[in-house]
Amino acid sequence: MWEQISSNRRRSIALTIGIGAILLLLGWLIGFFFFANGYAGLVVAVVIWAIMNLVALFQGDSILLSVSRAKKITKSDHPRLYNIVEEMQIASGLEKMPDVYIIDDPALNAFATGRDQKRASVAITSGLLEKLNRDELQGVIGHEIAHIKNRDVLLMVMCGILLGSIVMLSWIASRVLLFGGSPRSRSSSSSDSGGGIIIIIAIVLMIIAPIAAQMIYFAISRKREYLADASSALYTRYPEGLASALEKLAASTQELRSANKATAPMFIVNPFRGKGRSAADLTSTHPPISERIRILRSMTGASFANYEQAYEQVRGSRKAVLPGSALVGNGEVEIRAPRPEPVEPLRAGIERRRETSQAVWRMNGYNTIRCDCGTWLKIPPVLQNSTVRCPHCGRINPT
């Protein structure tokens, strides 16, 4: 159950090839249309794709993280978060501890990135960090680690690049078409009747290709979300943690400021869930949250087989959502008891908020120290003094 889920991977590769074929076809037709030579277009398409690939391969993580305005933290910045990531790394058997990032944003979201298991990162917004208790945070981090472990990140990046190339190519072609006049007048030698049909096909494809590729992309992405949910339940042995975290995520209406369309499938919930969107939307990167919660809550054990059963029960269908290779030879997996909160819920909430805000201050170079009177002092990075006077009680504290 812990190895690469191979049939899922095969299906994903097939879909990736599908998107790739759309890209090549589009390139060929555009080439035929503009240069009267399909191969020229193919070359353009492949060059665009190759450049984007190279950029993504070497800079993808840092681009994504910097676009999202995520800041890397160390253990002392937020011990609880760091500990939980390490716990999930152990539970999933991931080889190396991923880097941990915090995004200073009141929206509730989280994502994972990294093209292989050895160079992965997990990012979470400060808003989510202060809302979730330990079990819930564990569920969310388990979901993100599962994305890394199941190689979803690599797949989504690969598909994302293909999709991006298609969109880019269509965009360039449509601009040239709109503002560049008719390119066919320059090559009057080719026969008109055959050319006309190809022009129409090319235009139609330019419009349809990005949409089709996007639909495939989203279909893969949705499947992967279910698998990551199931894996999170398995790692934590506690589906309710993720379910209750998703409930909090669903209740929030705040959109993430730094997300965009291309990075959307990376997040734990779709950052652009607007109001009035139908439940089983084809253009959604994520399954509806309410359904994910219901599946997690109907699980009678924590294994993949239990998730599959719950999925079929909630959806009322017998169509498998998890790959067959994940379902064999698991044995019984019991759900554990919830871990008790060390303090009462209200105080726990206040403490989480303080913990998170301190982590954010530290991320920005501030140092927080505690005076004996109970006041928290935030020392800005420009202050060079060796001591500071507490404004509350007047004690002198070392910085």
Binding site: P79, I90, A337, P342
Partner: protein, 188 residues
């Protein structure tokens, strides 16, 4: 070439593929269980290192809890001594340490000053995370052992396992029923 020789070569090649592949697979699975075991080891050591610190912090705030503290220290030293023993034996002493720690944390309930101490709060986070890590590492180890054992008992791996002496792995089970639950770290 006679037909017999060709058939012989083909059978030989097929057998070599099955045996070679099976051997590699079993080695891979066995290494996985070994890695998983070393992870448990790392986390248990981490707990040994945390305990003296915890005992010191608690000592400063409490007066009448010497017995509980001594029980924890004793269980810790005992577990550390047996740290090179097999899975089953080790699980037993570690289980005792877990329950001794549980009793200590329950005792701390009576001391609100201690519970508000920053140092103690940080220690408590480390301790509960360590308990979690131990149980996650154990979970992963047991799953790896299950997978490895299943492989050594099914065709075609069982033949390879017998031929090259792959022994089945030992589970890391927590014996007492009360210890299956998460350690009590409740401070309501």
């Amino acid at each position: 070439m006679p037909v017999g020789a060709i058939v012989g070569i083909i059978v030989g090649v097929v057998l070599a593929i099955i045996f070679g592949g099976g051997y590699n697979r079993l080695v891979q699975l066995r290494n996985q269980t070994r890695n998983a075991w070393s992870q448990i080891d790392v986390q248990l050591k981490r707990r040994y290192d945390l305990i003296p610190n915890l005992v010191e912090t608690v000592k400063g705030y409490t007066k009448h809890e010497r017995e509980t503290l001594e029980a924890v220290t004793k269980a810790r030293n005992m577990a550390e001594q047996l740290s090179s023993a097999g899975a089953a034996e080790r699980a037993k002493v570690e289980g005792e340490l877990t329950s001794a720690l549980g009793r200590l944390l329950a005792v701390v309930e009576k001391y609100p000053d201690l519970k508000a101490n920053q140092n103690y709060l940080a220690l408590q986070e480390e301790l509960s995370s360590t308990e979690n890590r131990i149980s996650f590492a154990r979970q992963y180890y047991n799953d790896s052992v299950l997978k490895y054992n299943n492989s050594t008992q099914t065709i075609p791996y069982n033949v390879v396992a017998r031929a090259f002496g792959f022994k089945s792995g030992e589970f890391f089970e927590v014996t007492a029923a009360e210890e299956r639950k998460a350690p009590k770290v409740s401070f309501t």
